[in-house]
Symmetry: C2
Subunit: 392 residues, 2 copies
């Protein structure tokens, strides 16, 4: 049996995602497609625009058979942690045989070459890296330059495209974990990750759609609807302000004030340099996004700052891999996957949290998200404990 | 030397307050007038509309010689705790000789009679109280009824006016503490506490002014300016949204969610009945004020609910009297009061917090207030640690 894994955020789910799902099924000959999807917080270090149940539902209506939740540390970690956590999750399922990811290049060979080099870090590469770091350039740039020098066959374009880089991280994680999961890649169609334009008949990026949604205050304009696999998917969210990090501004400020003066070393992935800058500039805090913009530097991207602030807000102290398989939703026709997961899975299978025995602090991030969501949208609070997986 | 104490909130300071200050000075022949004023939270169980420094400044410009901060537990406690905390603070100064409060009746005699009865609680009164409570009426109503039956000379009108009732509590506290401070009362002019109308040439209540300010979104309209002792007093606050409890909604919800399921018994003045109702109805939370409205009952006024929610939000676990004398501000000409307070005061005198050695959690309520204020007004955060008393 072929069970293909896809790693995604679907923030929000769009036509390009539906295309990727159907192509992945096709090229791997999959019996089932399982998606490992970020929960309520995403890799840019911000809350997801729509909550995880809404996004899981869209994924199921858009072609996925089952949606697993990525563990929080992976979902809002850097590319390396994101990939490690996602690959680990698929390995723990015991049933995923193939992994299919989108990339700008659409060609596995050069990505695998780069991944092999990064997984092993031979002395030749490490020496190049040291040399470049000594010149004072940032780590990502030094790494890209060293990689390219060590692998002349790989184009520099390839190493600067975000989905290629993420693909390399997936391949590296598979290789390091000696996983038997077979990788595949599909060329992304349409707008690149950083392109924010939206034209009809063109695959826009999730970033472009998010920008439009913020602009339209949550109204699914004709232009946005044209990017959805089926226009009905988000109807119930029509007109609700999409959540952004700035709905969490007061909570973040209060959190920072309450731990002010302590070292931020104990939080996951908060560099010392950033810790100092946070305390020095705290009185200039006006919002989550403005503060992140204020804190970013040559060495630290806005995304890295966002992630650090999110780790502090959510009290994430260390990287943890999954300790359970959390099913957010499932296609009716794919119920057999639950049996397979409970038989072959190497972690407890959870289809809801009631009676899960998970410690209380596990729910803190979701409680925070739901508190904000219920107040911003003026809708009833949904208790995570009582949520069950969706069946579509 | 005569030093007269006045207990106040000044939320905001208005013409009636200036009149009271000058009359108090006159009738007591005071050399100095010291005000004990609520800090950033007030007796209705909500944040003050303007922060304590702004209100202290107005009081000093309006005729006070020195402003002391009421301890938090008193400032946002019920009338009995409010009075006990304020009277205690004046006793601890070692220099306050007289206390002057406003009342609807303007006559000390009947108030003192009622206070004597409540301070001693003779069996006759207690038996009446028991009888009335057995009929199922609320405690405040049973108390007023029993008082009136025990003191036929006192009119029922008198016992239903809020400032008379507060005055009785002051007198009761003085009596119970066997204080040598001499009480005086001045008849309030103009709008009663519960009257919300505002007419030119008439003394409006602080409640009426607050309502107008919320309506005008912080603009000091001509009608509001007519109620200020001098129009310039609040100019720097012009156009800034007055703070209400709803700016704290998300923080309260997050606080409740984070302690959900635990008993609220450990918080100060949170009745068991309310504790249960909070957990039963938490999913209906839409804002601080709506939630308080939802929770109020025949036995529990909206104000009592507000106070309980505030105690939970600010982590107030038990009633505490003052453990220091905190000077918020001072008239230049009254500097001698600082010497007197440091010589005769029975508690450490603080004119700022830097180096005060006060434990960290002491600052939590002010930090919360300032965080909200800086975000709502888009103005820089003012660090309580670095604030010094105002000299006007």
């Amino acid at each position: 049996m072929t069970i293909t894994g896809i790693i995604a955020e679907y923030n929000p789910f769009h036509r390009g995602h539906a295309y990727h799902l159907s192509r992945a099924r096709e090229i791997t000959g999959a019996d089932f497609v399982i998606v490992a999807m970020s929960g309520n917080y995403v890799q840019r270090g911000v809350p997801a625009m729509f909550d995880k149940y809404t996004r899981a539902e869209a994924a199921l209506r858009g072609g996925a058979d089952l949606v697993l939740e990525l563990p929080l540390c992976a979902a809002c970690g850097s590319a390396e942690y994101f990939s490690d956590g996602a690959v680990d999750l698929f390995m723990q399922t015991g049933i995923v045989t193939d992994l299919c990811f989108g990339s700008e290049c659409g060609d596995l060979e050069p990505l695998a070459e780069a991944a092999a080099l990064l997984a092993d870090e031979p002395e030749e590469y490490r020496s190049l890296l040291r040399q470049h770091l000594r010149t004072g350039i940032s780590f990502p740039l030094a790494r890209a330059t060293s990689l390219q020098e060590a692998l002349p066959s790989v184009s520099s374009d390839m190493l600067s495209s975000p989905n290629n880089l993420l693909g390399i991280e997936y391949l590296k994680a598979l290789k390091r974990r000696k996983s038997s999961i077979r990788p595949h890649t599909i060329a992304r169609e349409g707008g690149g990750y950083h392109e924010l334009t939206m034209e009809k008949g063109y695959y826009a990026s999730a970033g472009a759609i998010r920008r439009e949604l913020i602009h339209s205050k949550g109204t699914f304009t004709e232009m946005i609807q044209a990017q959805l696999p089926s226009p009905g998917i988000y109807h119930s969210y029509e007109g609700k302000t999409p959540l952004t990090e700035d709905a969490f501004s007061l909570l973040l400020l209060q959190r920072l004030r309450s731990i002010q003066g302590t070292s931020l070393n104990s939080f996951f992935d908060v560099p010392e340099e950033l810790s100092n800058r946070i305390w020095n500039r705290l009185d200039e805090f006006t919002s989550f996004s403005d503060f992140a913009e204020l804190l970013k530097s040559r060495n630290l991207t806005r995304t890295a700052v966002n992630r650090a602030l999110l780790h502090i807000l959510l009290d994430i102290r260390q990287y943890r891999r999954a300790d359970h398989l959390r099913v957010l939703g499932l296609q009716k026709e794919a119920k057999v996957l639950l049996n397979l997961l409970s038989t072959h899975g190497r972690l407890p299978l959870l289809t809801g949290l009631s009676g899960s025995g998970l410690p209380e602090h596990t729910f803190y991030p979701d409680r925070l998200y739901e508190s904000v969501r219920s107040l911003v949208h003026g809708i009833p609070y949904q208790n995570e404990h009582r949520r069950k997986m969706l069946i579509v």
